[in-house]
């Protein structure tokens, strides 16, 4: 069954249609996405499973507007990304998308608190409300006493909790997570998954998680399989 048939209203969520993307490698063309389509409703939580090299990261790049497809379209929260200029896509990402990476990717020269505030500053929302939100998020991820520590002083789990808080602080419409638990042990992975789940639910953001972890996938509303460049509800 094609994943495009599932889901709710396309305007508010994510709608990808017939995405094709290939890369040239040593003179040969390698098709990574070959007509991937999906509809994800607003507030829906989706896991994308697929073996290494199946194009999961490419899919995230296209959905976030980091990269452009060879053909097909991507619409996020009613905005057709493929019709935007590079700068417009950058500004769209800044306001409407949050990221959680496998390797946390906190800014090493900013403290935990400053890392949290960065998306707010980029969107011009560093008022007292922003500070209050940062403080409350830090409380929610259980690190209120580490606000002034630099990332290299934190454990992997702590860094990922900060990264989740940072990804959600500007209330993005869409949260993209690339193997968020891939670098953590089982217990820590479960804790981080709980946190992600809880925060996304409270906030009502759409969540798209790319993962190998079946445990994490099982927590989602729906699981999509990336198979031979297409998104399927069930693996073939």
């Amino acid at each position: 069954m094609d994943a495009a048939r599932g889901g709710g209203p396309a305007e508010a969520g994510v709608h990808i249609s017939d995405l094709r993307k290939s890369y040239r490698e040593g003179g040969r063309t390698h098709a990574v996405l070959a007509g991937a389509s999906a509809r994800i409703a607003s507030g829906e939580r989706i896991a994308v499973l697929g073996p290494s090299g199946s194009g999961k990261s490419t899919l995230l790049n296209l959905i976030s507007g980091i990269d452009l497809p060879d053909s097909g379209s991507v619409s996020v929260a009613g905005t057709e990304l493929t019709a935007l200029t590079e700068r417009e896509r950058t500004l769209f990402r800044r306001r409407r998308v949050g990221f959680v990476f496998q390797f946390f990717n906190l800014l090493p020269t900013l403290t935990v608190w400053e890392n949290l505030l960065l998306p707010l500053e980029l969107t011009g929302r560093t008022g007292s409300a922003g500070h209050a939100r940062a403080a409350s998020l830090l409380e929610r991820v259980g690190l209120p006493d580490r606000a002034h520590a630099f990332p290299d002083r934190l454990s992997g789990g702590e860094q990922q909790r900060v990264a989740i808080a940072r990804a959600l602080i500007h209330e993005p419409a869409l949260l993209l997570a690339d193997e968020p638990t891939g670098n953590l042990d089982e217990d820590m992975g479960a804790a981080v998954a709980d946190l992600l789940d809880e925060l996304v639910r409270t906030q009502g953001s759409t969540l798209l998680v790319v993962t190998h972890s079946l445990d994490l996938a099982a927590r989602m509303d729906r699981v999509l399989h990336l198979d031979h460049g297409r998104l399927l509800e069930r693996p073939q």
Binding site: N61, I66, R93, F99, L117, L118, E121, L122
Partner: protein, 856 residues
């Protein structure tokens, strides 16, 4: 402060060694540029202010084309034309042991004519009562024989005051001049202009300078209106042949123009230091960008735009530039105080006499150097900043992408380099005389060669692989491979080192060739055994007039078998100055001339017969003259055309020398005097003994300098070496800047690899092996740079010797390529690069692998 700025500030702080080196690079570059600017400008200003002060309010000046005027010219003008506003002046130079190293300018004036001209001399009927001339009585000024009035500051330096006497030496004669008063002008420029001036009554000055009945010039004050023009026309008509009238600035401008080429060369050298500084910034900023590529990618993912990243990196560079410029300005002022002495001494040796009291802090020059530093920094930071802005927002960033694109750039850079060199060659060929074109060409050639270095590095490292394998085993192979895989970072460092070392090579070869040419020239020119002249303000050129009695007694000495005499007159024309020498040449000295073409015997025969003149090479080059052309020589009888018989090699003056046989000279000039004397001794006579005997013949109170051939040769080379002292200092400074750059680049390169090296430690590489790896790598980079720098340096020296130098000074030099300069170059690069590796090697080998792995 925004969080992005804060992140970048903290990054810079965490890499403060790199930051400090960058700031030092800009600071040194700015300092050298500013110091040279300030030093040459202070010398120029010293000359200008002194010329203006001496000229006062005069609008025009009557001068004798042969350097002096007869007193009767003034009488004629006053009686026939009723020219009241005219002031006679007698000028000359003196030295005093109370003021060592300072050339004192004797200014003989007629205080009763001075009214409208020099306010510091005359304030009306009261004479010296004006502007700060405390206690100077015009009566005693006129009536005290050889009484002098001098600036209070000069008097203080000499330790004399009113009532004391100042001992001076003028044209070899010792005098004691009573100080009748001191001047303390309230105006700063007048005060500076008066430094080193001995003001005398005109009669006293004529006696002192041996110029009785002669004037140096007559100052005039003509209205700017039509009446002034009419009056000027009348004066011109009334002047005798050989005298001319010109606006006052003309002469000073022509004189100041003499040092243009000298100054341009210094400026070009100073800019070189700045270019090295720029290289340094480029390196540092490139590193900081490469190190943060992941970070920039992450920021781009989060929605930070390209322009924001560009701005971020450029802002960092601007702060580095500002800090460097600020420190550089301070350093430059300090450096200028040292350099102004060297520059002034060279100007005094070679061009004209100038007294500089200190460094004038010209705000325009300060602003220029600061802006240059900041501009160069931003320019250098632009490519890496654009690179940062191009960072792709990837979820995972691959460093290899950057290195891959860097490797792809190598052939392209080489191609651009070749184009640059062709453009440089075109600039050299395009204009055979333009000096700016030569420097532009030099810039293109250097940049072109620098762009070829990455390709050269790849070739050399690949070629050295077998050697690395057999000599260093796996560590050796890894060291070589490391250079090639991180070419994006190693290539700029190698290019910087190559440029720095090649400039040292180029300058070294140039100076070596220059000195060699001068030595050969001296060997050929100095044919006599003893040379006699007067002590004068300009060490390299004899001036003044020898006492005929002394000349007669020397020539009559039993050991002397023959002699030649020289009479030198310095002439100044709008196109430049030159020295006219009347030569009574003994046949023994005929072979001293090395002609550029033609039959030497025939040229000498025609010269001795008074058929024409000989022109020195710089003179002929400057004025585009060749044998057969005619030169118009100003003589007391008016301009006279004389054919040029031959062009001879001469390194004595870059302004030019024209030789005339005494017979020809006497035909036009009523000037029987002699400036210097060359004596040929009988075989078996010992020069040093004869010199002592000759000096014993000199009457008390007089001084002459008699030097044996060897001593004069040594003294001449001493002047040569002194002339190049500034160049040597600049060469050193430029090298220090470059060295700091390479040090920081290589150090950053190795420190940046700490994670990679940590992994190797974790794999089981011992600390010793790690040290060897790092040192092999930096050593290899140094060796490659040194080897590449040799041909680049030789090309540079060819351009400098055959184009820049020729077009600056008109000299042809024979290139001399000694092995020591080349060996030095390779050693310099190797040692520099090894030193740069010592700290990272030591640090890496001591860091626990776990810590290194943890990185940031």
């Amino acid at each position: 402060m925004s969080l992005l700025t804060r992140a970048s500030t903290r990054y810079l702080w965490r890499h403060r060694a790199q930051l400090v080196l960058s700031v030092v690079g800009v600071a040194l570059g700015v300092a050298v540029v500013l110091a040279i600017d300030l030093a040459t400008e202070s010398a120029r200003q010293g000359f200008r202010v002194s010329a203006e002060t001496v000229s006062g309010r005069a609008t025009h000046r009557i001068t004798g084309d042969a350097g002096f005027l007869d007193e009767t010219v003034l009488t004629g003008l006053r009686v026939d034309l009723g020219l009241r506003a005219s002031a006679p002046v007698v000028e000359g130079f003196a030295a005093s042991n109370r003021l060592p190293g300072m050339a004192l300018r004797v200014l003989g004036v007629d205080p009763f004519s001075e009214g409208p001209f020099r306010p510091f001399v005359a304030g009306g009927a009261a004479g010296f009562a004006a502007d700060g001339a405390a206690g100077v009585d015009i009566g005693s000024f006129v009536t005290t024989p050889r009484g002098v009035v001098m600036a209070a500051r000069t008097a203080e330096s000499a330790g004399v005051g009113p009532g004391d006497s100042l001992p001076v030496l003028v044209e070899g004669v010792r005098w004691s001049l009573p100080v009748v008063g001191v001047l303390e002008p309230t105006e700063r420029l007048t005060r500076e202009g008066l430094a080193g001036i001995l003001l005398m009554d005109i009669a006293g000055a004529q006696e002192l300078l041996g110029a009785s009945g002669r004037l140096s010039h007559i100052d005039l004050l003509l209205p700017e209106s039509g009446a002034g023009t009419e009056r000027l026309r009348l004066i011109e008509a009334a002047l005798p042949p050989g005298a001319s009238v010109a606006p006052v600035g003309t002469r000073a401008e022509a004189m100041a123009g003499m040092i243009d080429a000298f100054e341009l060369n210094l400026t070009a050298l100073s800019l070189l230091a700045l270019i090295f500084g720029t290289f340094l910034i480029y390196n540092a900023v490139t590193f900081s960008v490469v190190q943060r590529r992941d970070l920039f990618g992450r920021l781009r993912t989060m929605g930070v735009s390209r322009s924001e990243l560009l701005g971020l990196v450029l802002r960092e560079a601007a702060w580095i530039g500002l800090a460097g410029a600020a420190i550089g300005l301070g350093l430059g002022v300090v450096l200028a105080r040292g350099l102004v002495r060297l520059v002034t001494r060279t100007i005094n040796d070679l061009y004209f006499t100038v007294a500089v009291e200190g460094v004038a802090l010209d705000p325009v020059l300060l602003a220029k150097a600061g802006a240059l530093g900041l501009g160069a920094t931003l320019l250098a930071a632009l490519p890496p900043a654009l690179e940062a802005a191009r960072a792709e927002p990837r979820l995972t960033t691959l460093r290899s992408v950057f290195e891959e694109s860097a490797r792809r750039l190598v052939p392209r850079a080489a191609l651009v380099g070749i184009v640059f060199m062709v453009v440089g060659g075109a600039f050299l060929g395009f204009s055979s005389r333009s000096l700016p074109a030569s420097f532009t060409a030099l810039f293109f050639v250097v940049s072109g060669l620098a762009l070829l270095t990455p390709a050269g590095t790849v070739l050399l490292v690949r070629a050295s692989r077998p050697l690395l394998r057999s000599g260093g085993g796996l560590v050796g192979v890894m060291a070589g491979r490391g250079i090639l895989t991180s070419l994006g970072r190693t290539a700029p460092a190698v290019a910087a080192l190559v440029v720095a070392v090649s400039v040292t090579v180029g300058l070294g070869v140039m100076i070596q060739s220059f000195r060699g040419s001068v030595v050969r020239w001296l060997d050929g020119t100095l044919r006599a055994d003893i040379y006699v002249s007067l002590p004068g303000p300009r060490t390299s050129l004899a001036t003044g007039t020898l006492d005929p009695e002394i000349v007669a007694s020397f020539v009559a000495h039993s050991g002397v078998v023959a002699h030649s005499t020289y009479r030198a007159v310095d002439l100044l024309e709008a196109v430049g100055g030159y020295r006219l020498v009347a030569l009574q040449l003994d046949p023994r000295g005929e072979s001293a001339f090395d002609f550029q073409g033609g039959d030497a015997d025939e040229i000498m025969a025609r010269f001795q017969a008074g058929e024409g003149i000989l022109a020195s090479e710089p003179f002929a080059f400057r004025r585009e003259l060749a044998p057969g052309d005619e030169l118009t020589v100003p003589t007391p009888a008016g301009p006279t055309s004389v054919p040029i018989l031959g062009v001879f090699r001469d390194y004595g003056s870059d302004q030019g020398t024209v030789m005339m046989s005494r017979r020809l000279y006497d035909r036009y000039f009523e000037d029987p005097e002699i400036t210097s004397l060359a004596l040929f001794l009988s075989p078996g006579s010992q020069s040093e003994v004869v010199v002592d005997e000759l000096l014993a013949l000199v009457p008390a109170g007089r001084t002459v300098i008699a030097r044996s051939n060897d001593t004069l040769r040594e003294a001449s080379l001493e002047v040569f070496d002194r002339t190049f002292e500034v160049t040597v200092v600049l060469r050193m400074l430029a090298f220090i800047v470059a060295f700091v750059g390479v040090l920081s680049a290589l150090m950053a390169l190795e420190l940046e690899r700490s994670r990679e090296l940590g992994v190797m430690r974790a794999w089981g590489l011992t600390p010793g092996e790690l040290r060897r790896l790092v040192l092999t790598q930096t050593g290899l980079l140094g060796l490659v740079s040194g080897v590449l720098a040799v041909p680049v340096g030789v090309v540079l020296s060819v351009v400098m010797i055959h184009f820049v130098n020729r077009r600056s000074f008109g000299w042809t030099l024979e290139m001399q390529l000694g092995p020591e300069v080349l060996v030095q170059a390779v050693a310099l690069a190797l040692v520099g690069a090894l030193l740069a590796g010592v700290y990272p090697a030591w640090r890496m080998s001591r860091t626990a692998p776990a810590l290194a792995l943890r990185g940031e």
